[in-house]
Amino acid sequence: MNRLPYVCDSCTAQVARVSPRRPQSQLSRLTPLRRHYSVQTARPFRIAIVGSGPAGFYAAHRLLAKAEDAVVDMYEKLPVPFGLARYGVAPDHPEVKNCEEKFTEVAGSPRFNFIGNIELGESLPLRVLKPHYDAILFSYGAPKDKELGIPGEKAIRNVYSAREFVGWYNGLPEHRDLAPDLTAGEDAVIIGQGNVALDVARILLSDINELRKTDIAEYAVEELLKSKIKRVRVVGRRGPMQASFTIKELRELLQLPSVSFDPVPKDLFPSNNIISSLPRAQKRLIQLLEKGSTNDPSTSSKSWSLDFLLSPECLNWSPIYPYRLSHVKFSRNVLDPSDPHSSSAKVSPKYLSSGNRAQVNIPANTFFRSVGYKSLPLPGLEEDLGVQFDEQRGVIPNDGFGRITTPKDTGDTQRLPDGSLLSHLPGLYCAGWVKRGPTGVIATTMTDAFSTADTIVADMGSQRQHALLNSPGRSTGLGWEGVQAEARERGLQTTSWSDWEMIDAVERKMGKEKGKLREKFGRVEEMLEVVS
């Protein structure tokens, strides 16, 4: 078990605690083992987790800790694990990535298998998995982002999706070749006021010499060094009370050295009475926003602003340089006067006394849209497993506890606290962004994944036959061992956890040579080369 030589003793102990195959020694006979279910005691409970981001790993952690008979197979599209912890968390937030240590501990359990480089639904249909598992948990997140749907979004150059840009500077193979042109001019506009928007702004405004010590991709450093961007506007359609970024990200931007912040107009803030009666989190955020930055614009080399109550209408280019972005036309909004300070306040277009809509042009050479991530159904989700993806909300329909539901009556119905009925699809669960939408920090996803895992453990213990993916006796219970043959037949080259450890070691070594934390492989082929 010296697979984890860098894990300290106490943590190894935690791995041991979730170890299933304890030898039948004095220890196990004398220990009151807690058994959580007894549907099929003859063999382990096999569960497939689709996606190896924080949701998948936290669910696996909880499952392995609470159900001694559970064996988890985690499937991942990329050869390497950790999802958005690796490819979404900003490189200058290495402390947030410390959760990977926990995940590594989880992966040390002998009841955990990692199967990387396998795209379920694409290269291997979901129906291949079904007969071999007792449950499948979907935690594949939100692999796309929402579009604005405005003229020029697709046709004009220098228009990027923030999600792709984040993937690009984080070394995500999918966006390795994005090659954003940051040399078009001084003005950048980001649409959307969430944490992704602030991450992008921070990367554009930060001192590159600080960034290059992180695990940011080397090719991104090169492009950022060439960047001419001096002003970043982060634009939202609603007001400061409705912005969805969190205070840590705001504070970081306000404290960036030699970056000034254009103060937010006073009239956008509610009166002091209202501010002091706000819930704590919102109050602190608004007060920080009011205070702004102490950096002097005259001595700062770059600046940024938060612009409120603006909806983008169209992207325009100048007649001199066709297809090169020059400005963005926005229409102004007003907040619903009946409830302008609520975080869910709606906006409507602002009209001038002439009856025309109030509009404004903002210069922009580089443009990012950052209006939210979007989940998609895995191919075959409906055909193979009967899951009807909720396209409107962008989630897999579920009962809030992680059980996947369907509008059809499957015979397994449950009454919700509000009295409505839900039909469950037995043995199918979801966690993370694909369950509750692309919002929240890692702590939110952790809580959410724990609740799904607790639900699975409860269902295992309830002896409800219908809690199983396959009717009793119909599942082989082989898990990955059963799926493997089919994967081989299709010529799929999968990666194991020890493969990842090799890739990890090489990445760290390459990073060390460059004086940084790690240098990620930007291409899948490069990763596979390490292990072949």
Binding site: M1, N2, P5, Y6, V7, C8, D9, S10, T12, A13, Q14, A16, R17, S19, R21, R22, P23, S25, Q26, L27, S28, L30, T31, P32, L33, R34, H93, E95, V96, N98, C99, E101, K102, P110, T246, I247, K248, R251, R280, A281, R284, L285, S344, G372, Q392, R393, G400, P417, R436, G437, V441, I442, A443, T444, M446, T447, F450, S451
Partner: protein, 193 residues
């Protein structure tokens, strides 16, 4: 795997006295585990016996990087605190000055995550100080800590991040509660955004 199998098999060789003490520990919450026990509070009390057990087996492990683990308090300098876990069970602990609540909870197998490894970058080690006077005695939380607390579930007036609360003599007798992480579905979960 072989490491644990070996470790478990080694247990057979523990002298009777040691193993009896081992099993008579108060309220074992988790199944027994070799390395685990060495960092439990009770082990300090039974230190002598336990050490004998270890020596008898001449058990050794390669030194590995340690992070966030506890220093045993010096005799006479113990600080008494209690942690109430998510099930409402109270755990009375004797701790050393300087250790923080996250490390203490984890070393005692209480359910506290610490996703960011105690670097004040998440809110998973959120704790609630039961006595407001005790809360007042502590140093004010920093802006960074408050920023993270703002995102915590079930935030209260006396909330802190466990990783940011080092033990001091002033905190003797402190009672800390771990918040329950349950979150009920809200209407806003179904709102169109």
């Amino acid at each position: 795997m072989s490491f644990f199998r070996e470790a478990c098999q080694q247990l057979r060789h523990i002298p009777k006295t040691a193993s009896r003490t081992y099993l008579s520990r108060p309220a074992p919450r988790q199944s027994l585990c070799l390395a685990d026990s060495s960092r439990l509070q009770w082990s300090r009390r039974n230190n002598a016996t336990w050490k004998t057990g270890l020596n008898a087996r001449s058990f050794s492990v390669t030194a590995r990087a340690q992070h966030g683990h506890l220093t045993p308090p010096k005799p006479g300098e113990e600080i008494n605190i209690s942690i109430v876990d998510k099930d409402g069970d109270k755990h009375d602990l004797q701790v050393a000055e300087g250790d923080n609540l996250l490390d203490i909870a984890q070393a005692n197998d209480l359910e506290m995550e610490g996703a960011c490894g105690g670097s004040c970058a998440c809110s998973t080690c959120h704790v609630i100080i039961e006595d407001p006077d005790m809360f007042e005695k502590m140093e004010e939380p920093s802006d960074d800590e408050n920023d993270m607390l703002d995102l915590a579930f079930g935030l209260t007036e006396t909330s802190r991040l466990g990783c940011q609360v080092p033990m001091s003599k002033d905190l003797d007798g402190m009672v800390v509660r771990l918040p329950t992480m349950t979150r009920n579905l809200q209407a806003s979960d179904f709102e169109q955004k």
